[in-house]
């Protein structure tokens, strides 16, 4: 039953991941072109009139998209993983390293989400007179949850790598 369902579910998820791979860069381009769009949480940038944007503001905006690069990489690996699962072998040798890589990319993305806020706030207030510059740090429960999930995925990937090694060794026994 599971063997039959796995390729079917994997096919759907692979399609979803492929769509996400195409849509994520488009969404970023859209957010850059129209920063006031509510789909991205860029209130700081949308409040500044576009005519007042300096090079530093643009750099601040770009820095905000850094985590998305790693999320895109993670989705790309997810797509490869789903393609592998479509073949119906969850213990394929490449599955473990792929899950580990997904976890790693998500972890970097999550850490960058935390790191981006101080960098952005500093860049945004860099042009202010001395005494009005600021730096802020933000950490919320969803980011912590994200880090935990990324860590969990890395560990699962690690154990999957071990499991695939054992499965490969088992196949050499008659």
């Amino acid at each position: 039953m599971t063997e039959q369902r796995l390729p079917r579910i994997a096919m759907g998820l692979q399609l979803l991941a492929t769509c996400a791979l195409v849509l994520l860069p488009l969404a970023i381009l859209w957010a850059i072109a129209v920063p006031s769009m509510a789909m991205f949480q860029l209130p700081t940038f949308s409040e500044v009139p576009r005519s007042d944007w300096s090079l530093v503001t643009w750099i601040g905006l770009m820095v905000g998209f850094l985590p998305a690069v790693f999320f895109w990489l993670a989705v790309n690996k997810m797509r490869s993983l789903f393609a592998l699962y479509r073949l119906g072998d969850p213990l394929a040798p490449d599955a473990g390293p792929l899950i580990k890589s997904i976890g790693g990319n998500l972890m970097i993305g999550a850490i960058l989400i935390i790191a981006v806020v101080p960098v952005q706030s500093l860049l945004m207030s860099l042009g202010n007179p001395v005494g009005q510059r600021s730096i802020s740090i933000s950490l919320n429960s969803s980011t912590i949850g994200f880090i935990l999930v990324a860590g969990l995925l890395s560990l699962i990937g690690w154990s999957m790598s071990e499991a695939t090694k054992i499965a490969a060794e088992n196949r050499e026994f008659v």
Partner: protein, 66 residues
């Protein structure tokens, strides 16, 4: 010390063909061939037991340390 598989000798003694033996113990002919040539990492106790049953012999008749 190296372990050598003497399965082909026992099969010749019992006058049993590979296809027949493979079917009897429930493994593929390909795996039996790999086992005969010693190109496997190991043999499960279960397979060894079935081989001994089918060939009416002891594990030492199939495996030999040289």
């Amino acid at each position: 010390m190296e372990i050598v598989v003497r399965l082909d000798v026992m099969m010749a003694k019992r006058k049993i063909k590979g296809r027949e033996l493979a079917a009897q113990i429930g493994i593929t002919e390909q795996n039996l061939s790999l086992l005969k040539s010693g190109k496997v990492k190991g043999i499960r106790f279960e397979t060894l037991g079935k081989l001994c049953d089918a060939l009416d012999c002891q594990p030492a008749d199939i495996l030999e340390a040289v």
